[in-house]
């Protein structure tokens, strides 16, 4: 049996309504709200007005000889996503100067076989372009807090 012209028209209208709804919900709404979320987003990755000198919030380990050792995202946050680790350090600095996070990392690192004396929560600024042209001195380095790695379990 062939569908009636009215039902054909109704189907066509519903299909157009679906298309419009997708454009509004996925395309217009996130931009209007100007909020990055999930699964709706403005997809702001790589779009910020980046300069060559930007702060990097991180945690480092200082050895007994004073040398600095970089920690991995897993050692910093317990998760292997670098962005989550960076955000965790930033949030912890804003929250309590990094004190709680420093203690968490120190406890996590206490089982490490490396000779680590202290953990530092830092904000470092480098000229990123200079860095890759071989000039690696920091523009600035702020230590927000430091804490000792417990010796008892090492």
């Amino acid at each position: 049996m062939r569908p009636s012209p009215t039902s054909e028209l109704n189907k066509r209208r519903s299909v157009r309504a679906i298309g419009l709804a997708i454009v509004v919900v996925i395309g217009v709404l996130p931009v209007a709200l100007d909020r990055d979320s999930y699964p709706l987003s403005t997809y702001p990755m790589f779009s910020s007005r980046r300069t060559a000198i930007e702060p990097v919030h991180t945690a480092v380990a200082r050895g007994e000889d004073g040398s600095i050792r970089r920690l991995t995202p897993t050692q910093i946050s317990g998760n292997d996503e670098v962005i989550i680790a960076a955000q965790l350090v930033f949030d912890s600095i804003t929250r309590d100067g990094g004190t709680v996070l420093c203690g968490d990392i120190a406890r996590r690192m206490s089982t490490s076989s490396d000779m680590i004396d202290t953990i530092e929560i830092v904000t470092e600024k480098y000229d990123a372009i200079d860095w890759y042209e071989g000039r690696r001195s920091p523009v600035s380095r702020v230590v927000h807090t430091s804490c000792s790695v417990p010796e008892v379990t090492r």
């Binding site: 066509r12 299909v15 298309g19 996130p30 979320s37 007005r49 980046r50 910093i76 965790l88 929250r95």
Partner: protein, 318 residues
Amino acid sequence: MWRAAPARRLAALRILVGAYTVAFLLARSASFWQMADLPSWQTEGVGVLWFLDSPWNPSTVRVAFVCNVILGVLFTLGVGFRVVGPVFSLVFLVVSTYRLSFGHVIHTEHLVALHLLALGFSRSADAWSYDARRRDPAPTSGSESRLRYGVPIRAMVLVTVLTYVLAGVAKVRHGGMDWLAGDGLRNQVAYDNLRKELLGSPHSPFGGWVVRFEWLFPPSAVLTTIIEIGAVVALSSSQRLRTIWAVAAWGFHVMVLALMAISFPYPLSFVAYACLFDVERGGERLIQAARRRTGRTSDSKSDKLSAAISGGMPPING
């Protein structure tokens, strides 16, 4: 734009996106698993979990993750799809939202979550599925076929296009002429690699080397914007244009991986662009090749059954 499509095309997309998602969940299982142990003060709900202000019990998170993998397998095979289809797409949305509810939204799962919703809430198991063995043959043409199989595919295409256009618009909107002049892109590549180095994460030495060549970045920035905003060509009926765009967008993600060690696995696997192609043809060729290998002809009883369960379409060259 909203053309009819065979049931097999939507089914092929279900299999591809479902299999990709299961592989993704397994490959990133450590990250999903570890998420259960992040500090409670870092919880910041997003999307459907906007209300979240404290983490769930770690056991709940892990059980939800395991259930999601099992549902993903059933989704891909098309088992109990009326229930499994919507439930899997929703559970994936919740589980992946939870993973991003700890301070920073990563943009690797947005498109796959939206594609799964389109597939899960459509009749994508009417062919090439366990369920299809017990159903009537799917309609192959006319408005019924367009609504059932054409609309979900076109919805996937539209969503794909919108995500790229929004990303392109965001660059021009936030980065302005600095972005198009290439400074923003060069600084981004350098900063992103430096941050990874300082955070003890794998970075791209190639990207670090490339930032020395300033002249490379203005054309790269313009090309990136053209690919992203130019995604609208994928809405056209020209298969050539759609193919050119899909390959260009894939190439863009390859460059992002090479320059910044940032992986967008869904587009890199090319599954994200499958909805732009007549993907069922690949599956049909595979079935034919298997038949040739086993020496079966298209007149066999099993082929007639196969045609019936896969949407009533006769086998190619049958």
